[in-house]
């Protein structure tokens, strides 16, 4: 029973961060229909930024989100404007390769600057936990989960209530129609890519105290982000949040009951199952 509860709690807490990563990707895909293979690498950039702020300015990783978020927004927007924008109408395989190339550039530049050493942020609360009966709840992961909830809620509010948010949603729904309605689609794409980058970088900052940083750290997260996004329905924020939690729980349960080596098989199998049974994802519209 302890094993079950422990796995469930860890899965949910982990899922929170996954949700944020997925939300970032879903926003980018929704607006541009580009599969961003550099997503994890953008997260890596965010993680190094967090690391620099922690080591050189002594800023707590959770607090540094306030700096990372806007900086990575600019970073993502720039990438969109300079590169992605030029392949929006290109063949999908070219878009994929472009983002793969950009990812290679980011991770290898990081390697030149920081070497390929593992960087570990040790905060006073890195291994802190609260005991609840036989199970323990990680303190830093609980905080990061709460921040995730707050960020997701804020994003949801932004997309529903602000003019820019609504324009982004309109663009995601139908790019051509949005253009006809006078929405500046190019600007929306830049904002969406910027926001997507901010979100995934925030996820990076949030896991920094409990994880570690190295130049290739992004690769695994990119794949995970795809799975989460498709699971929830490409373009759906609520879906991505839900997908993140589901993936978190299935990883954790898979590790406990089938074996840690098989947990990713569980995740990918789940992914294929959803693709086949409900290609639009759990929260996607059926015609999407």
């Amino acid at each position: 029973m302890d094993v079950f509860l422990q796995s469930l709690i860890s899965g949910i807490l982990l899922g929170g961060v996954y949700a944020l990563i997925g939300t970032g990707l879903t926003l980018i895909f929704g607006v541009m229909r580009v599969i961003n293979f550099a997503h994890g690498d953008i997260q890596m950039v965010g993680m190094y930024l967090t690391y620099l702020l922690f080591v050189h300015a002594g800023i707590d990783p959770f607090v540094s989100v306030l700096i990372t978020f806007p900086l990575m927004f600019l970073f993502g927007g720039l990438i969109q404007k300079v590169f992605i924008n030029r392949v929006l109408d290109a063949l999908p395989q070219n878009q994929i390769l472009l983002t793969i190339g950009l990812g290679l550039i980011m991770s290898n530049t990081a390697m030149l600057i920081f070497t390929s050493d593992y960087k570990i942020l040790t905060t006073s609360y890195s291994s802190g936990s609260v005991k609840l009966g036989g199970i323990s709840i990680s303190q830093p992961m609980t905080i990061s989960f709460l921040i995730t909830v707050a960020v997701t809620a804020a994003l949801w509010w932004f997309l529903k209530k602000t003019d820019t948010g609504q324009a982004i949603r309109a663009t995601a729904q139908d790019r051509d129609a949005a253009q006809l309605m006078g929405i500046n689609v190019k600007r929306m794409s830049i904002i969406a890519f910027g926001l997507g980058s901010s979100l995934v970088a925030t996820a990076g900052a949030l896991i920094a105290p409990t994880y570690y940083i190295y130049p290739q750290v992004g690769a695994a997260f990119t794949l995970k982000a795809f799975v989460i996004t498709v699971l929830g329905g490409m373009g759906s924020i609520v879906g991505a949040a839900l997908g993140g939690i589901i993936i978190g729980i299935s990883e954790s349960m898979g590790a406990a009951y089938i074996g840690a080596g098989w947990k990713d098989v569980v995740v990918f199998a789940l992914f294929l199952l959803v693709l086949l049974l409900k290609p639009s994802g759990l929260m996607g519209k059926s015609n999407a």
Partner: protein, 383 residues
Amino acid sequence: MKRTLVTMALALGLSGTAWSQALKIGVINSMSGPEAPIGENLTNGIKLAEEDLKKKGILLQIVWEDDTGKPQIAMSAMEKLATRDGVAGIVGPYTSACANAVSKLAERYKTPLLVPAAAKEEITRQGLKYVFRMNAPADVYAAVLVDAATGLGKPKTIAFMYENTDFGTSTTKTAKEYVAKKGIQVVADEPYPKGAQDYRSTLSVIKSKNPDLVFLVSYVADAILIMRQSKEVGLKPQAFLGGGAGYTTAQFATEKAVSNFVFSCTQWTDDVSWPGAKDFGKRYKAKFGKEPTYHAACAYESMMVMADCAQKAKGDKEQTQAALRAGKWNGIMGDVKFEDYNGFTNQNNHQMLVQQLFDGNYETVFPAKFATRKPTYPFPGWK
């Protein structure tokens, strides 16, 4: 003087003739790609060796080759070094997969290959005359740790948790065979994919089995994560045994809250009484700004040995091989001699050490003749 000459020759574009006076030794290492974090330690070790050799008046031309962690690229590198660059010998590759792939080429081209730190046993078990290995292979990792534990208490059960890579699985495989001989029962066998963020569910499964020993094989960062989360879930065996790699790093040691009293085995440590070990640690730290890992030491000593042989052989490959076979060294890795035993060929029967962490400091606790402190056993619990 020689150095000035070389510089002048270079400036004049006469590099070809000048270089030919230097000993050519190839290095194959994972300098980029997923293995790069460890590969970098080897690079640094070899750079330090290059400096030291220069001081001794042995001028090296090292031909660096990056295998990016891929066997077929390692083969490219090997082909190039052996047939185009005409090196006297090669130090590397770092990973077992790459070392395996190039070993038969070394034999074919009669080019001595000194593998510094790859653990897979097969590498020196193929009867290849030109393949040498500095470090102790995977079976020793497990044996030395289990010996230390059985010498200190009476553990009856053991749980394995290891990354499902070549290194992790082959180390654990030999460990399982070894504990079976010692009559210890395996209660959990949990391979995990490296780079996961959450090990809590696996650890709570292990905790529910209540093992006497927990045997862990992980690289640097995972080691810290696993120990942090072990503390979280309250796993408390008689001893944590870290099978090399991640449990022997300075980074791991600094995580005092979770690393205290963890046993680990290593090929090398800077507090051991082997000549030059302490000094190597100091100079390494000064030059690269971090503590050396055993990979760095293995690579350093490998380059020193290879350069020594190559110089005696005046760059001739076959004579270099003969010199490696015949020679005996005593440096920062202790006694080095390449021997044939237990099915191994040209294997340095290296003595591995067991260390325990005390408040951020590694102390050698086993075997007794190298021990610097009495071990604490069983694990007294989390602070």
